[in-house]
């Protein structure tokens, strides 16, 4: 079951490779948040306790509700961001790059699993998410899309943590979630200010500082 969810996670990444609408990017992020919630909550059914549910519920609240609402209300509506993502990279090539990356990651994870103790499918799904999040940051121009790319990357890291069963203390997980939320909050404010002072909302305007 976990593997199915991880594969579903990878499918959301392929959708990122095909779509050009910002709303779709945001929806993918919400879907990933829900998937993370389900992945975290599945193993808990055998040993039910209210305490263990706090983290998955917080993740659902932050990643699938709070951050998307913040981005939608505060950034997209106020700025009237143009609907498409504007890239300097052809969409089809981007999809090819994503597919190629995922294949490479899955094959190498399979090889690694022979030597070390990792579950190849969750590990590869997590790592593909991180790399594709990075691609979004590198190949897209809009600042708001960069933030979503960063969030996708963070989702990947979270999935990686789950896949290698890292025992992060509960409190640290919660604070790191808060840290990410505050970071996105500050980035959101910065984007708002940037678009009002620079009159652009992509990186082409940010060239004041150079030597």
């Amino acid at each position: 079951m976990e593997n199915v969810l991880n594969i579903l996670f990878c499918l959301t990444l392929l959708y990122l490779g095909t779509t050009t609408r910002i709303m779709a990017y945001l929806n993918v992020f919400v879907t990933q948040g829900i998937l993370l919630f389900v992945i975290l909550i599945l193993p808990l059914f055998n040993k039910f306790s209210a305490y263990t549910f706090i983290l998955p519920v917080m993740i659902l609240a932050v990643k699938a509700v709070l951050i998307p609402i913040f981005i939608k209300r505060k950034i997209m509506l106020e700025l009237e961001v143009r609907k498409s993502i504007e890239s300097d990279f052809q969409q089809f090539n981007f999809l090819l790059l994503c597919v190629f990356t995922m294949i490479t990651v899955f094959v190498s994870a399979n090889m690694l699993a022979k030597y070390t103790l990792i579950d190849s499918i969750p590990f590869a799904a997590a790592f593909s998410t991180i790399i594709i999040g990075l691609y979004i940051i590198i190949f897209r121009k809009k600042l708001i899309v960069h933030v979503i790319g960063f969030l996708v990357m963070e989702n990947g890291i979270f999935l990686l943590g789950v896949s290698i069963a890292s025992e992060m203390p509960f409190l640290i997980e919660l604070i790191s979630l808060l840290d990410i939320f505050v970071a996105v909050f500050l980035m959101g404010i910065a984007i708002n200010k940037i678009s009002s002072t620079f009159a652009v909302d992509d990186i082409t305007g940010l060239d004041e500082l150079k030597d």
């Binding site: 600042l143 890292s166 604070i175 970071a183 910065a190 940010l206």
Partner: protein, 483 residues
């Protein structure tokens, strides 16, 4: 009372309290109280007068004590001088920034202290990310285009970098899979004591990710732009904080992993990476030293250079490692004084462009002289400490028969010196038609602070007091075994 409450609780409490009122002067006085208390406790810990608390989450070994001392010292001087800089800033109409200044610096002190004393890599990570979040609004202090861009770049670049570091930390957990301590694998002391049992593949991957991720925050080429922009566009007290203390905190993460690696066969690999990172930083600093037109950016690139030197020192080990530790301390003292003087120039000339600063030595007597002395210290003139620490680095290179690298580093340092002095002397001596304009400068507290810091710098170059010598030899023992 537990000193942990005083060290981290006091800054947190004052930072939170400051959100409830708006009196800048009161905030300033309370901040000085917090910074002073922090400095006193840190010194007592440092000199061994009080015993550190025992707690699995916190680690008060010699490395922590050293970095805590650096942070506390820089923070104290920055806070003591900050009022004048933010009250009479070159740009007006920034009341909102002034109001949150002390709130954020106190929260920064809390987060940074927590990062330094944490024994758990997860705790270290969240604290380090929090320092980024505290510093970001401070970078946007002037509320203009440049500072906005700088804040965005710093926030985004460092956050992505820290995300990489987090992957590295997860890899470290993976490297402990199958060992008996796998459930406690993120405690630094546990990892160090069980280093020989770790899986080397994941340990190597973990080091690479952590080093690359944190280098955005340390300010090491090629991921230095975020740090340089942040330092050059924020007010001087903030620039001093980022350049002299925050880089060190991020470096601490790398050093902790290096400490683990020193018990394995991967040490050499890590050292080569550090040397490459350091040398590239020196080369980048050299290129930009000839291209900069902004004196604050020039000092920021000088930070890139000095962090590069520190990394090379750690990469070589032995006596160069001792040199690197001293270099870190000296650099923090020097940069704080340098940024104070740069702030004075900015406030009087209302410009950060080198081309617009003229006859500094005539116009601003005290600032000019101290700017010149800070510059002499930065380029490692004797008797200032940086000369002796760089000498130790070269000694280490000779001891390791790295003559090619040594020649290369000396050439880089020489040209950095030429590039930097070209800019500095232009500011000090160039005359223009406008030279008749008079500046009325009195002896201020910032001058006194710079004199004290530079005197400590020169003093430490000649004589290293007993507590410091002991701490440094203890730290060296963390990395070099069997001595």
């Amino acid at each position: 009372m537990n000193i942990l409450y005083l060290l981290s609780g006091l800054p947190l409490a004052s930072g939170a309290l400051f959100f409830t009122f708006n009196n800048l002067k009161v905030k300033y006085r309370l901040s000085i109280f917090t910074a002073g208390t922090h400095l006193i406790i840190t010194y007592l810990l440092f000199a061994g007068f009080i015993a550190p608390p025992q707690n699995a989450w916190f680690n008060f070994d010699s490395l922590t004590k050293l970095f805590l001392m650096i942070l506390s010292n820089v923070f104290f001087w920055v806070t003591a001088n900050s009022y004048k800089y933010i009250k009479h800033s070159p740009i007006e109409k920034i009341e909102k920034s002034r109001q949150i200044f002390y709130n954020m610096t106190n929260l920064y002190l809390f987060a940074n202290t927590l990062a330094l004393i944490s024994n758990h890599l997860g705790l270290y990570w969240v604290a380090l990310e929090s320092t980024t979040l505290c510093v970001a609004p401070l970078i946007y202090f002037y509320r203009d285009k440049e500072s906005l861009e700088a804040m965005w770049k710093y926030l985004f670049l460092v956050s992505v970098g820290l995300a990489f570091a987090f992957i590295g930390i997860l890899f470290l957990t993976l490297s402990a899979h199958g060992t008996e301590f796998m459930d406690n694998a993120l405690y630094i002391t546990v990892l160090v004591s069980g280093a020989s049992k770790l899986n080397l593949i994941w340990l190597k991957a973990g080091f690479i990710f952590i080093f690359v991720g944190l280098s955005a925050k340390i300010g090491i080429a090629p991921i230095h732009p975020g740090e340089v922009d942040a330092v050059s566009n924020s007010p001087s007290p903030v620039a001093a904080l980022i350049s002299a203390s925050l880089g060190g905190t991020a470096l601490m993460g790398v050093l902790r992993i290096l400490q683990i690696l020193s018990w394995t066969s991967l040490l050499q690999f890590a050292q080569i990476l550090l040397i490459i990172g350091g040398t590239v930083s020196l080369a980048v600093a050299l290129i930009f030293m000839f291209r900069v037109t902004n004196y604050k950016r020039m000092i920021a690139y000088s930070s890139v250079e000095h962090m590069g030197i520190v990394l090379i020192g750690f990469g070589i080990g032995g006596i160069a490692l001792t040199g690197a530790l001293l270099h870190l301390i000296f650099n923090s003292l020097n940069k704080t004084a340098f940024f104070f003087m740069a702030g004075n120039i900015h406030r009087n000339y209302k410009s950060r462009e080198i081309g617009r600063i003229y006859s500094l030595l005539n116009n601003l007597r005290w600032t000019g002289i101290l700017f010149l002395i800070s510059f002499l210290a930065v380029i490692a003139m004797p008797p200032f400490g940086l000369f002796f620490s760089e000498l130790m680095l070269l000694q280490g290179l000779i001891a390791n028969n790295q003559f090619v690298l040594m020649t290369f580093i000396i050439i880089l340092l020489l040209f950095i010196f030429i590039g930097m002095s070209r800019n500095v002397f232009r500011m000090l001596y160039r005359t223009t038609d406008k030279s008749t304009r008079t500046f009325n400068e009195h002896f201020e507290f910032s001058h006194l602070s710079a004199i004290v810091l530079l005197c400590i710098l020169a003093g430490l170059g000649i004589f290293i007091p007993e507590p410091l010598a002991k701490i440094i030899s203890d730290v060296t023992r963390l990395f070099v075994h069997g001595i």
